[in-house]
Amino acid sequence: MDYRWPDEYLAFRDEVESFIHEWRTPELLAEQRELEGAPGPLSRKYYEALQKKGWMRMCWAKEMGGDGRDPLYQFILVETMEYWRMPYGNLTFTSVAPSIAQYGTEGQKAAYLPGIWNGELTFAIGYSEPNAGTDLASLRTKGEKVDGGWKVNGQKIWTSLAAHSTHIWLATRTDPDAKKHQGISVLIVKTDSPGVTIRPLQTVSGLKTYETFYDDVFVPDEDVLPPLHGGWSIIMHALNHERVGLSPTSNLARNYDVLVEYLQKNAPHKLADPVVRNRLAELRVELQRHRALAIRNAVTIARGAIKPGEASMAKISGSELRYRITTLAMDIAGRAGGLARDDARSIEGGLIQNNYLASPILRFGGGTNEVQRSIIATRHLGMTR
């Protein structure tokens, strides 16, 4: 037992921080907002620099083209980047690329990985459908075998980034006769393929996402991830890659810091109020509770152990604390706490308000918290299914 972070991890955190301060310009942030996180000219340059650092693949096995570093480095990268809300690889990097590296054919690796690294290729994730949300395996978008490939028909929803992406990572039912989890394949679909239609959906936090429609879209055989009909395990594997930093403490702590800084500058009388100070003290307690679960999960994953309950605990606690911390921060800040990011008077670009409105997605997305709680009960505590 030793709860200290060894010096090399702390040195890495410092290295990441100075990199962030070098690149975190107002122009880059503006571009990020505009493109909803998809790469534009500035962030392409930023990604190039990030790529040179080798951080995005540092924890991959050497055989997969990585550096074989301990996954706690990934944890530290995520925590540090998340504090400053810097992009460090969206799902294309954390989910698609590792899956191609692990499951892809040699041809697929050659065709996609280099482009992903230099930011030319970006993927949207096409899993959810109007009638397949939490129960993802009931998805119905279907692929029929045709000469040289597959003909895809169906509809996806919440295909985030679709309008800014070159490809869609599409979960498709390729064997309608197999059991629910067994007839699914992952197809790589170009967003400009004939038959693909993209329609925007506006969410309440300001973030856009998309519905995507597939009408007789042709996907060549070489763009089907092996094993055919074995896509469910690829989807699960892809989700696994997000687990180590799945619920950072730092971006929650940032809300706290932004609030305190705001009060110090603009409302010192509120900060002097013992009731307010007490509420802030409670938030500190909650932040430490979450930090405990997040680090616990990261350490377990870094050791290569599999404890799904720990990931679930971190996911639930982070997502639910986001709502609690932001609602309280808005209350304490007062009317200014309710200003949206398109108001110049908003606090730190409306960060807290925006986090409040965006908090539901983290609770029901990525495996809804109700299901996560049952995972804790059955798999961690051994309760009867």
Partner: protein, 361 residues
């Protein structure tokens, strides 16, 4: 970053757990609880096992281990709800071994053997941990009263906070000295607690003002450790019970709402385990501050009623009868939530400095 017990730490944990589970039936705990007297036989037996001196130097016969090991000792005792001053004696022993001004090896050797039993006596009538009125005069005579002193009568000595001619400090007082009188209290936890009055009692100064804060931090941390144990067992018993209790044709555990209550209990237990042991580990080499100890105590003191009351919710009527073992952890947990700073008191301490950014790594 390694939050897991080492091999020797795990060995201590399993050895103690097995020993207590086989040697101490819960009915024996009930007997001592009813009479509100310590289990002297168990204390002797533990001296025989060499557990009483775990964090003490080997030169006095101790185990030469650290606060994490002392924490494991406190944790395991609390898991069995036994009526012995494990946390109290560990607090006093560590203070005497590490923070005393002079050489206390004589009393430390007696502590290891179980012949001396030293418990802290700090809180006064004002119910304010920061207020000390007990006074020691120039002749070294103590006058004052201490409240909610755990195991005051089982102890051979009290480690008393008082103001002397050299200022605030820790004083060692013999329980059997004339002028020491006790008045038993009947508190929620059903362990022996008393108001102790000291009238012109010989008191020996062993440490200065800084030690008083350290004593509170340590006692507070061990109280958090005891709370952790209570929540842990409450959850374990709840999982076991709901797995066998059948209603509507299925075990209660298979109902999603029941699972969700248990998951919420579990998140408290797991985050608390990390926080308590991180604190013990950090106190060992002085990395932890008083704020850290207060934060952990605030967290656990808030969590324990939630966890134990959900345990009751899922046990239904069974959990409320005293033949069932669940209640031990409900009452001990709540009692320790109040001891050495309630959630409210600890939050008030944290509230003094909310400007420093919270730690996230």
């Amino acid at each position: 970053m390694n939050p897991d017990l080492s091999e020797t730490q795990s060995l201590l944990q399993t050895t103690m757990r097995q020993y207590l589970e086989t040697e101490i039936p819960f009915d024996r705990v009930r007997e001592h609880e009813e009479k509100r007297v310590a289990d002297a036989e168990l204390w002797k037996a533990m001296a025989g096992q060499g557990w009483l001196g775990i964090p003490l130097p080997e030169t006095v016969g101790g185990g030469g281990a650290g606060l994490v090991e002392a924490g494991i000792f406190v944790h395991e005792l609390a898991r069995r709800a036994v009526v012995v001053p494990g946390a109290e004696v560990m607090t006093a022993a560590v203070m005497l071994a590490r923070h005393a001004d002079g050489d206390e090896s004589e009393i430390l050797a007696a502590l290891v053997d179980g012949n001396a039993i030293v418990v802290p006596a700090h809180l006064e009538a004002a119910d304010d941990l920061e207020k000390v009125d007990a006074a020691v005069d120039a002749e070294g005579r103590l006058a004052g009263a201490k409240h909610y002193v755990d195991y005051a009568d089982f102890a051979t000595h009290h480690l008393v906070t008082a103001r002397g001619t050299e200022g605030l400090g820790l004083y060692l007082v013999e329980r059997s000295a004339p002028g020491v009188s006790t008045e038993a209290l009947r508190s929620t936890g059903r362990t022996p607690q008393a108001i102790v009055t000291y009238r012109d009692v010989p008191a020996r100064r062993v440490a200065g003002e800084a030690a008083v804060g350290q004593l509170i931090d340590l006692a507070r941390t061990f109280a958090s450790t005891q709370i952790l144990a209570c929540m842990e067992v409450s959850l374990e018993q709840t999982v076991a019970y709901t797995n066998v209790r059948v209603q509507f044709g299925q075990p209660l555990a298979a109902f999603q709402a029941v699972q969700h209550h248990a998951a919420n209990m579990c998140m408290h237990v797991e985050s608390s385990r990390f926080l308590v042991y991180e604190l013990l580990d950090a106190l060992e080499d002085g990395r932890a501050s008083s704020d850290d100890a207060a934060l952990v105590k605030a967290s656990l003191s808030r969590a324990v009623p939630e966890v134990t009351m959900l345990g009751h919710q899922l046990h239904g009527g069974q959990g409320l009868i005293e033949e069932n073992d669940l209640y031990f952890f409900t009452i001990r947990g709540k009692d320790r939530a109040l001891a050495w700073g309630s959630a409210e008191e600890c939050l008030a301490i944290l509230a003094r400095d909310v400007e420093t950014p919270p730690r996230w790594l």
